[in-house]
């Protein structure tokens, strides 16, 4: 996390130490464990030290839809629940054994007041997240399922080794069967 803080923000050694060692706690989860469950209130923000996870939403039919994947050096959490104290709408689940740093709402607020440059850091992260999501919407509007699949593989070639076809399909908004067909097509070419 130290590297990440230094890359996206400007902190003193002392401040970094405070954030990482005083205000964060290290947590581990097994594969398939839930870090955040929709319907429950989430009081933490999480930073991935090791492993990967998915964030998903459950629709009115009970189907799961992946909204996001997170790998090393990635912040996540149900921001809305964290801020408002209302029930989370997203689920976050470990796809590999996960090692996280967790910061409670209480400590998060302390950091924000005690370390002014943390706000600029947050700002940068939200901005990046916003631009990322906007690009993802653009991709949904401009590309076919097939194009979205190849686009993902090209942008994140290693994803395929860590995320199951089923989860990739869900993230892209395609049925797993159709991804299977696309794979076959690619082989035949």
């Amino acid at each position: 996390m130290k590297n990440h803080l230094l890359t996206y923000g400007s902190f003193s050694e002392y401040e970094i130490d405070k954030i990482v060692n005083e205000y964060s706690e290290e947590l581990t989860f097994k594969k398939r464990d839930y870090i955040v469950t929709a319907g429950e209130v989430s009081h933490y923000q999480y930073f991935i030290l090791e492993g990967c996870m998915r964030g998903f939403i459950i629709d009115y039919q009970g189907k799961e839809h992946n909204i996001i994947f997170g790998f090393e050096d990635f912040w996540f959490g149900d921001m809305e629940s964290f801020d408002s104290g209302k029930a989370a709408i997203y689920n976050f689940q470990a796809l590999e054994p996960l090692k996280l740093l967790a910061i409670s709402k209480e400590n998060w607020d302390k950091i924000s007041t005690e370390i002014p440059s943390f706000i600029a850091y947050k700002c940068k992260l939200f901005q990046n997240a916003m631009m990322f999501q906007q690009m993802r919407i653009a991709e949904h509007l401009t590309q076919s399922a097939e194009q979205r699949y190849y686009n993902l593989l090209q942008k994140y070639p290693d994803v395929i080794f860590r995320i199951s076809l089923k989860n990739i399909a869900s993230y892209l908004g395609i049925s797993p069967e159709f991804v299977s067909i696309l794979r076959k097509r690619a082989v035949q070419k």
Copy 2:
């Protein structure tokens, strides 16, 4: 804009005055005018005082896809171009006669250093934008075209009076012809 600054940030009268009167310039655009053109560098962030606009992207076939609409009290701009100085990828075009406040990169940076609480304000805005986009992705993954259309009408009933069917269709990622069919269906019920 003053109201918006006070709602989402905490500023003194003096600071607000400085932002609005010293660092912003008022611009007007006619309907169909481009505020930002993809391919050109954009050095401004814009705040809508009156009117509405669309942000869109052009795909490899030359087709336009609406990414966003903005009404009164809305900030917009090609954030990526503004930040990096590279060419914008989004177009922004007036859908009604537009009255804007524009803040140049230079002044934007001045505000950020001279008025510390502006960063927290920005942070809040980016966070809201991020959550909004995330919800939009969730809607694309969980809902059919028909559901997305009704969902939009329910959430923003007045949109229909200000935005053409064609532009609504583009925003939802549906063909205008199909929206026409949906409208007919709704009337028949």
